[in-house]
Amino acid sequence: MLKVLLKKQFLEMGQGLFRSRKTGKMRSRGGTIGFLILFAFLFLSIATAFYGYADLMCVPLVAQGRGWLYFAMMGLMALFIGVVGSVFNTYNALYKSKDTELLLSMPVAPTAIITSRMVSVYAMSLLFTGIIWVPTTVRYIVAAGSGTGIVFPILMLFILPLLVTVLTCLLGWVVALVASHVRSKNAATVAATLVFLAVYYVVYFKLNSVLNSIVRNSDAVASVMKTWGYPLYRLGLAATGDVLSMVMVVVVTAVLFILLCLIMSRSFLRLSLGGKQAKAAVYREKPLKAAGINAALLGREWKRFTGTSIYLLNCGLGLVFLIAAAVAAVIKADVVRMVADNIGELVPGADGLAPVVVLAVVCMFTGLDMITAPSVSLEGKGLWLIRSMPVSTRQILHAKEKLHVLFNMIPGTIFSVVCSIVAGADALSVVLVVLAALCFNCVIAATGLMLDLKRPNLNWTNEATPVKQNLSIFLVMMVEFILSAAILFGGWLLGSLAGVRVALLVITVVLGAVFLLLQRWIDRRGTAAFETLA
């Protein structure tokens, strides 16, 4: 039975690889190979970045005879990334799969269902931990040489994901327990994710200095690790070839995994089928407010954006960065001012060009919001509703763009003004930075919408598909990075020749012109494309 369920799980996981999510048809051999190459490229790119972190610690720690500390620290990082990468999908994968009721109606034991799903969580964890552990092992082999000892870190490659599975399933179980008791699951998800991401980014930005500090203070870290971080100490030792430690790690992991399976099997039915529910809200009749058609359409987009946690979290994080950056700019005003005053010493010919840098930063952050990129796809099976209503396609599409622009405009303007003033920009430059940022905002909104109109995917059962597996989002991110870089370098070149105001003015005009061209496409061909969707 488990074999059949596992086959189904892996078919489901591999669906994106072999089958087009847009058409539902099998990909061509070329398409599958292309997809595999892209996947391998992404994996290698990220693994290379982690190879850099491994490089920081490997040589000095191995030379000190503390290879175990190297593996312990990299193992900790792999566990962290594994948990961060898998935890958001684990709750849905374990408890919210659409086939739960169908499987339970068949002669299938709940234990088999939960086990098959945990195996898929394990596979996902293997991917996330592997992205760190593979370069960690490779760097170790380069530093310490290959021999029979390499079997141990390779074995650890398969044990670490098991630990990640235990941790993520525990977190998923906690999320399910909380979700079954709170009224606003969406708000709870958003809040939990933001806290999680804050921790993640704090760790990420501090990583380099933390790793360097570990190397510098390896004596102290090693002694602390042996007492307070005993499991990690054993994990590190196991990876360096200590047989006793390996046996301990394997046994402890296996026991934890079995215990988790038992706990989850017991609560699976209650958590996946609803069970005890939070008290539902009761409607109390009161006069309703009327709004115009455009306001109603904008309200619809706003509700979709804020009412779909996965959409909000994946396409609206720029707002958090913008606000955090504005606050940081005020707190660290002296540092910002010092960098702005001495920018000419850091980059030749960049004297007085701080507003260009501010603009590039605001563009990079606002570009992280890609609200329009999945907005057509998110209409999904509900597209009939808006298509059957007396509203023009332009009104529908403009509402999508308006949401993107309005959402970014206020924090973008605040950041632009605050940071430009702190950097000592004059009034005209501040105004130009605000205008250019607004034009950039419009360009990203129109680009996202255009790309999704060209490649919409209306056939989905979970919002994660159009939001997380959408090429439009990836392409908008590319456009955003390229455009931000072009603004930075173009502004620097122009500014060094003609001054910062001219540079900002030219950037504003160019961005404005690009937006008008994109808008023309949306109003003509875009509307026609939308009207053929059904």
């Binding site: 539902a280 809200a281 009761v282 409607y283 109390r284 009749e285 009161k286 006069p287 309703l288 407010k289 009327a290 709004a291 115009g292 058609i293 306001a295 109603a296 359409l297 309200g299 619809r300 509700k303 979709r304 009412g307 779909t308 999904g380 099976k381 509900g382 009939w384 509703l385 298509r387 059957s388 209503m389 007396p390 509203v391 023009s392 009207e531 053929t532 059904a534």
Partner: protein
């Protein structure tokens, strides 16, 4: 009220609807029956202005859905076979959104929503997200939203699926009231007994082509609608 003349819709090499002509007058409940994939939904979606079609013309109160879609859509309402409505909204927010689009005055919408939600017994649930609704509740919400702006023509695709017996009965009464008030209803159904009892006229479609249409007596004569339908389908 509704004139469908020579409607043809092609998907690839398949003619989903082939030269279909049908006229519906004010006061008529017009049933549309056919096997799965016969072209009923395609026809209804084309009339609703959701699906562009290849040939023919559709007129609603003399106006073409092709050239005057906004005017046509203001006069009608459409309920699909599967009410996929915005799960990110609460029931009341959804109804208010629909009222905004159809420009229903604020006081009238409050009264109408209250009345219809009471009739369908979902008033208490209106504050909850639509995502938590059952299929039947979504169907009731879709029906309420369709009735919000007093449409002259209502298009419905399998409207009784998922409704409880009481709600089905209420919906049939409401359909009759619309027609008694000079409106018209065009709906598809697989429940032939319902069609036989409720409809003034009926059309049978097979593989995209209209094979029989007319008053109930003209179509079925002395036989039951079911036996006529099965005979024609063979």
């Amino acid at each position: 009220m509704l004139e469908i003349n020579g409607l043809t819709k092609v998907y690839g090499n398949t003619r989903a609807v082939d030269d279909l002509t049908l006229h519906i007058r004010p006061g008529e409940i017009y049933g549309f029956i056919g096997h799965n994939g016969a072209g009923k939904t395609t026809t209804l979606k084309s009339v609703a202005g959701i699906l562009p079609f290849d040939e023919g013309e559709i007129l609603i109160n003399g106006r073409s859905i092709r050239t005057q879609p906004m005017e046509c859509k203001r006069d009608m309402a459409y309920i699909p076979d599967n009410p996929d409505i915005y799960e990110f909204m609460t029931g009341i927010r959804f109804l208010n959104f629909v009222a905004d689009i159809y420009r229903v005055p604020a006081d009238a919408r409050t009264e109408k929503i209250g009345k219809l939600a009471d009739i369908f017994e979902i008033k208490e649930n209106l504050a909850q997200p639509i995502g938590s609704y059952s299929h039947g509740m979504k169907q009731k919400l879709a029906v309420i939203s369709a009735w919000m702006h007093d449409p002259k023509l209502i298009l419905m695709d399998e409207p009784f699926v998922g409704l409880d017996p009481k709600a089905s009965h209420t919906l049939k009464q409401m359909m009759r009231e619309v027609c008694d008030g000079g409106g018209a209803i065009f709906f598809s159904t697989h429940v032939l007994e319902v069609a036989e009892k409720l409809c003034d006229k009926v059309a049978i479609i097979k593989s995209g082509r209209l094979i029989r249409a007319g008053t109930m007596e003209e179509v079925k004569g002395d036989e039951s609608l079911e036996s006529v339908f099965l005979e024609l389908e063979e």
